[in-house]
């Protein structure tokens, strides 16, 4: 379809001499576009889509067929079944099934999205609109933390949760095996630097006049935060929540270290199955799709906001 559109454009384009009066948009249309570019775009689009389609198709084919024939022979080897999904939801390890780990993923992801965003919004407001000595320095430090690999923090943090000690000094009560708490706190900590940085950029962009006017009217910081900053930055907060949600849902490393045993999320179980039953493609394809279904649904439903969050994160970073 797009090839056709291009050809039309190319033939409809006027001679070089008459280009001067053309609207800007149609000039842009012809830059760098020709048949080869269109072909390359189509190849890229196919390369990026076909593997996922293959996975989806295979997940619905009978186990025997998945094992012996390619999914592209679907029409010669007809057959659809949902057995793979039933089987994979009951598969798992001694402590947990896939279905259980799916629930775990939800239980991990929702609090781990809400908590860091609230804390980050509070801190971002202080960095943007409150004056205190060393503000810029502390803010740069927070920014720098963003790029410290979380690998640096994993093991000491695990020890902190398990023993409650920092440098051998007890500071908190240990809660090593208490459900999801470890993962929530770990995700919260790892999300904070980026969240503070991004939300600060948004909150700092609110025009000074608005805040000043509120102050002159006698509004306190609490009121300014609630009545002005929160409503104005709500879209940014929403965009970043989607980001954080997907990031936590898709995480494996933090889960491997902090969510063991019965509280493991679906990514961890899936990785486990890949290791132990790597040739059972009927299970793997269905399992991968179960794990993908929530992020894909979020992606397709909220795609516009997701892009907005991405742009916010990059255009200013």
């Amino acid at each position: 379809m797009s090839t056709l559109a291009r050809t039309e454009e190319a033939t409809a384009a006027p001679e070089p001499g008459t280009r001067r009066g053309r609207p800007a948009a149609s000039l842009a249309k012809t830059r760098l576009t020709n048949r080869w570019a269109t072909l390359a775009a189509l190849v890229i689009a196919a390369l990026w889509t076909v593997p996922t389609i293959g996975l989806l198709v295979s997940s619905f084919r009978p186990a025997q067929q998945v094992r012996t024939t390619g999914w592209w022979t679907l029409f010669q080897n007809w057959g659809f079944t949902t057995d793979n999904y039933t089987a994979v939801l009951q598969a798992g390890n001694s402590q947990l099934t896939m279905a259980g780990s799916f629930i775990n993923s939800i239980a991990i992801t929702l609090p781990a999205t809400v908590i860091p965003l609230v804390l980050a919004t509070l801190a971002a407001y202080a960095f943007a609109w409150m004056r205190f000595p060393g503000r810029d320095l502390i803010f740069v430090l927070v920014f720098a933390l963003q790029i410290v690999p979380i690998q640096m923090a994993l093991v000491p943090l695990l020890r902190l949760f398990a023993a409650g000690e920092l440098f051998g000094v007890p500071v908190i009560g240990a809660f090593g095996s208490a459900g999801y708490a470890q993962v929530w706190i770990a995700h919260t900590i790892f999300a904070l630097p980026l969240a503070i940085f991004l939300l600060h950029n948004f909150i700092a962009e609110i025009p000074n006049e608005i805040i000043e006017a509120a102050r002159v009217d006698g509004a306190s910081h609490g009121q300014i935060f609630f009545r002005i900053v929160l409503p104005l930055t709500a879209p940014a907060i929403a965009a970043f929540s989607i980001f954080q949600f997907l990031w936590v849902w898709n995480d494996l490393l933090v889960a491997l270290i902090f969510a063991d045993g019965a509280v493991a999320p679906i990514t961890k179980l899936l990785a486990e199955i890949t290791g132990s039953r790597g040739q059972d493609w009927h299970l793997l394809t269905a399992g991968a799709f179960v794990a993908m279904i929530v992020p894909l649904a979020v992606f397709f439903a909220l795609q516009r906001y997701f892009v907005r969050g991405l742009m916010a994160g990059s255009a200013k970073g």
Partner: protein, 377 residues
Amino acid sequence: MTTFLQWLSTLPTLAQIPIIIGVFGAVVLLLLFLIELAPRRGRKYTIIRAVACVLFPLLMVAILDSYTWAIVAAGFLGLLLFWLDYRSRHGAGYIFALVGFLSPALLLLAAGLVIPTIQTTVQSFMNSRGTEFVGLENFIWIFTQPAGIRTVLNTVLWVLIAPAVSTIAGMAYAVFIDKSRGEKFFKILVFMPMAISFVGASIIWRFVYTARPADSDQIGLLNQVIVWAGGEPVQFLQESPWNTVALIAVLIWVQTGFAMVILSAAIKGVPIEQLEAAELDGASAWQRFANVTLPGIRSSLVVVLTTISIASLKVFDIVRTMTAGANDTSVIANEMYTQFRNFEAGRSAAFALILFLMVMPIVIYNARQIKMQRELR
């Protein structure tokens, strides 16, 4: 808090979500309420503030189940806070509000990132149990055995290939589909892998790479293509060094959409007048791209390259799920986890520190860029 968390973990999974979010929300609302009260004048509010200043640190210590001397310290800190707050230049209540806004995030960051980073650095110079100082032994171990060198080299390979290829592919795609009919749809196709986890992506690509003996039907798409072209099936994930390239392809597949979306927006931001002027001067499409568009999207290119470089340095899930580091495919992040699992805390920390040092130049470069942009503003 320990008691609360332990009680919470006994509840049904889905019931835990509203409870934890509700409790957290209540605490934040109380905090905001106190911040709101803080700057008010009058003896009553001053007393409330004084009480809150002492009670909050106390409460925190109590929540954290800590010890008697810590409670005394908290009381002292609280009074100090109140005194400072009372004499604050910005009016009484200012420091109270400031601490209220900032302290939760900063305390978590200090306890969860800053101190652990220092601890890991120290740990990398200790033996496996962290009991004895061994100097550079862990690093010498990494750089004297072939597998260790291989791991570091692989990471370098990742950071050289993945950012370059995904940025170029993303940029090419963004340019090719720019202003075309169905642009949005085409964007979604390439962008979609961003939503798929690395674990999911790894399974997708393991399936594409699967090889079966030459005499039977192939079920992996890539090998089928090779067979159609008259070749022999290849074990993509077993033959070094190409297996690392096969893994890198997965990261490229995921990250290209990100590069494409960012660069596409940047390309649309290039002033149309400049492009028109260049065209009037007789510049070809390629010249216009190289001399007008490319300089115009430079800062976005830096952002995209930086982000993907950091992602490639830290790559873990893909290697873990696809090969677990077998057949010479290991990378630093994977090796760090493997050593941790083998109770070699010192070596694990040494790998983490190497990773940190490799990320450092990128951080410094970006910090400078931000500083430059701020000065421009």
